[in-house]
C-alpha cells in the first residue's frame, strides 16, 4: 500500500471514507433513541390531558390550587382591590412588561389562572404574600404582584399562564 502516491485517490481511501460515513450515520441513529427515551413517555403525556375545574365554590378573595401535568395551577378569584392594584401600574416600568388585561380572559377580570411555579428555579410561590400582596417565593425571594407579574427578585419573567378556556361562567378547562 505504500506504493500508492498520496496524491492519488485509491480504492482504499474510498473504503476508509465510506466506512467512516456509515459509522457516523450509525452513531447518530443509535443516539436518537438513546436521547429520545428520556423525554416524557406515552403514559406521562396521557396523564397530562386537559382537566376541568368548577369555579362556583371559589369565593372572592380565595385562591385554590389544582394540579395539571404535575404542576400546581393557581386559580385566584381576585377582589376589586386586587384588580385595581394590578391595573394601576406603569406597565412599561415592569421587568417583564405585560398589561393585566393580557393575563386574564376578556370579561373575566376576577379570574387569574397561573402556573404556580416560580420562573426562577421552580419553587412554589405563596399566595397573598409579599410586598405587592400577590405571590412571594420563599426560596430566593422573588415577588410577584396580584397579576402574577414579576416585580422584584431573581426570577426573570412573569408567572406563566396555562392554556385554558371558559366553558361557562363557572367552568374552565385547563390544557
Amino acid at each position: 500500500m505504500a506504493t500508492n502516491s498520496s496524491a492519488e485517490h485509491s480504492r482504499r481511501d474510498f473504503l476508509y471514507i465510506a466506512t467512516g460515513a456509515v459509522a457516523a450515520a450509525g452513531g447518530v441513529a443509535v443516539a436518537v433513541p438513546m436521547i429520545a427515551q428520556m423525554n416524557p413517555d406515552a403514559s406521562t403525556i396521557a396523564a397530562g390531558a386537559p382537566i376541568e375545574v368548577n369555579l362556583a365554590p371559589v369565593a372572592e378573595g380565595q385562591v385554590i390550587k389544582v394540579f395539571w401535568r404535575g404542576k400546581p395551577i393557581y386559580i385566584n378569584h381576585r377582589t376589586k382591590k386586587e384588580i385595581d392594584a394590578a391595573r394601576a401600574v406603569d406597565v412599561a416600568a415592569l421587568p417583564d412588561p405585560q398589561p393585566d388585561t393580557a393575563r386574564v380572559k376578556q370579561g373575566k377580570d376576577q379570574w387569574l389562572v397561573l402556573v404556580g411555579i416560580c420562573t426562577h428555579l421552580g419553587c412554589i410561590p405563596l399566595a397573598h404574600q409579599g410586598s405587592y400582596n400577590g405571590f412571594f417565593c420563599p426560596c430566593h425571594g422573588s415577588v410577584y404582584d396580584t397579576s402574577g407579574r414579576i416585580r422584584s427578585g431573581p426570577a426573570p419573567s412573569n408567572l406563566p399562564l396555562p392554556p385554558y378556556v371558559f366553558l361557562s361562567d363557572t367552568q374552565i378547562r385547563i390544557g
Binding site: M38, P40, G70, K71, T119, C123, I124, P138
Partner: protein, 420 residues
C-alpha cells in the same frame, strides 16, 4: 531516585504469573517501593482517605440498593423500612449519608492542601484537572443521591437544581423536560436519578485510576514544593506512607464514627423526613452543606442566567488554576504574601458557605455579593498579580536539607531513612 528495585518473583507460580499478567510487579512498584518525598505531612494522607471513603460509599450504597425502591410512591417508605426493619439498616444508611459528608470534608481538605502547596503547578496540571473532574462527579453523585429518599428537601432540591438548565435561552424548557422525563419532577426523574447515582461512583473510580496514574507519572508534590533529586529525598511508599496513611485514616474514621453514632442527622435537614409534596415548597430550602458556598454565589447574582453561569464558573475556574497562578514557586511556605491571601480565600469560602445557609435577604445578599466578587478576584486578579510582584523566600537546595539538620531529622531522633 535512580531506578528503584523491580519485583523479582520467587515462587514458581508467581514467576509463571508474572510472565502472563505482571500485576504483582505493578503493585510492587506502585505501592511498595514507590518513592515518596520524605517530608510529606499529614495533609498528604487525604488522598488515601478519599479512596477509603469511595470504597465505603460503594459498599454501603450497593447494600442499600438491595433494600431501596426507586418509585415516587414507595421510595420514602422504603427508606424508613431500611431505618426500622432491615437488620443494621439504620447503621448502613447513616454510614452512607454521613459518609457523603465525610467524603466532601476530605475532598475539601485535599483541594485546599493542593492550593496551599501549589500541587497544581507544572508538571501536575493534568493531575489537578482530573481532580477537578472528580470533584464535579462527586457533586453530581451527591446531588443525585440526595434526591433518592424522596423527602421534601430531596424533591425541591431536585426541582431547583434541574431548573438551573432552564436558564439557557431557547432550549432551556425542553432541556428540563428531557431531564425530568415529564412536565415536572416525578417518578421518571427519580428512576433515572437512581440509575445514574448507581453508575457515577464507578465512573469516579475509573477517573481515580487516571488520577493515581498521573500522580505516579509526575510524582507527589511535597511541603517544600521542590522535586526530589536524590535517594536522600525520598522514602519507600511501604512502610512509610502506608503506615502514615493508615494511622490518619483511623483518626479520620473516629470523626466519621462520631457523626454516625452520636449525631447522625446533624448534617442533614429535618425537612427531608417529610415525604415529598409537589404542592408545598419548604420555607427555607437549602442544599447539603457541601454545596452551600456555590449556592451563595448563585443567589448573590440578581439575574437567573448569570447566577447559574457564576455557579458553574466558580467550579470550572479551578481547572484553570495552573495557568492563573503565575508564580514559579509552588509551596506557600516560601510565598509570604500568597500564604496570607490563601487563608483569606479559605475564610471567604467558609463565609460563602455560611451565607448559603441563610435566607436570601438584606445584608446576607450584600455580603454574598462582596464575597462572590472576592472569590473570583482571588483567581482572576490576585493570583496572576502575586506571581509577578511577590518576593519569595529562598528555596532549600533539597528536600533532605529542608527537614534535616546535620543529617538528623528536625525535632526527632528517628532512624535514618532506608536506602532504596
Amino acid at each position: 531516585m535512580s531506578g528503584h528495585q523491580t519485583y523479582q518473583p520467587r515462587s514458581p507460580f508467581m514467576k509463571w504469573m508474572e510472565r502472563r499478567l505482571p500485576i504483582a510487579g505493578l503493585v510492587y512498584s506502585s505501592f511498595i517501593v514507590y518513592p515518596t518525598p520524605r517530608n510529606l505531612n499529614y495533609w498528604w494522607t487525604f488522598g488515601g482517605i478519599l479512596s477509603f471513603m469511595l470504597a465505603a460509599q460503594i459498599v454501603t450504597g450497593v447494600i442499600l440498593a438491595m433494600h431501596y425502591t426507586p418509585h415516587a410512591d414507595m421510595a420514602f417508605k422504603s427508606v424508613e423500612m431500611i431505618m426500622r426493619d432491615v437488620n443494621y439498616g439504620w447503621l448502613l444508611r447513616y454510614a452512607h449519608s454521613n459518609g457523603a459528608s465525610m467524603f466532601f470534608i476530605a475532598v475539601y481538605i485535599h483541594m485546599f492542601r493542593g492550593m496551599y502547596y501549589g500541587s497544581y503547578k507544572e508538571p501536575r496540571e493534568v493531575l489537578w484537572i482530573l481532580g477537578v473532574i472528580l470533584y464535579l462527579l462527586m457533586m453530581a453523585t451527591g446531588f443525585l443521591g440526595y434526591t433518592l429518599p424522596w423527602g421534601q428537601m430531596s424533591f425541591w432540591g431536585a426541582t431547583v437544581i434541574t431548573n438551573f438548565f432552564s436558564a439557557f435561552p431557547g432550549i432551556g424548557e425542553s432541556l428540563v423536560t428531557l431531564l425530568w422525563g415529564g412536565y415536572s419532577v416525578g417518578n421518571p426523574t427519580l428512576n433515572r436519578f437512581y440509575s445514574l447515582h448507581y453508575l457515577l461512583p464507578f465512573v469516579i473510580a475509573g477517573v481515580v485510576v487516571l488520577h493515581i496514574w498521573a500522580l505516579h507519572v509526575v510524582g507527589q508534590n511535597n511541603p517544600a514544593g521542590i522535586e526530589p533529586k536524590t535517594d536522600r529525598d525520598v522514602v519507600r511508599f511501604t512502610p512509610y506512607a502506608t503506615i502514615k496513611d493508615a494511622f490518619f485514616m483511623i483518626c479520620f474514621s473516629l470523626v466519621f464514627a462520631w457523626f454516625v453514632f452520636y449525631t447522625p442527622n446533624y448534617l442533614g435537614h429535618a425537612d427531608n423526613y417529610i415525604p415529598a409534596n409537589p404542592a408545598v415548597t419548604p420555607t427555607h430550602i437549602v442544599p447539603e452543606w457541601y454545596y452551600l458556598p456555590f449556592y451563595a454565589i448563585l443567589r448573590a447574582i440578581p439575574d437567573k442566567l448569570m447566577g447559574v453561569l457564576a455557579l458553574f464558573g466558580s467550579i470550572i475556574i479551578l481547572a484553570f488554576l495552573p495557568w492563573l497562578d503565575t508564580s514559579p514557586v509552588r509551596s506557600a511556605r516560601y510565598r509570604p504574601l500568597f500564604r496570607q491571601f490563601f487563608w483569606v480565600f479559605v475564610i471567604v469560602c467558609l463565609g460563602l458557605g455560611w451565607l448559603g445557609s441563610k435566607p436570601a435577604e438584606g445584608g446576607y445578599v450584600i455580603a454574598s455579593r462582596i464575597l462572590t466578587i472576592y472569590y473570583f478576584a482571588h483567581f482572576l486578579i490576585i493570583l496572576p498579580i502575586l506571581g509577578w510582584v511577590e518576593k519569595t523566600k529562598p528555596l532549600p537546595n533539597s528536600i533532605a536539607e529542608s527537614v534535616l539538620h546535620d543529617g538528623v531529622p528536625v525535632g526527632a531522633s528517628a532512624p535514618a531513612p532506608a536506602k532504596v
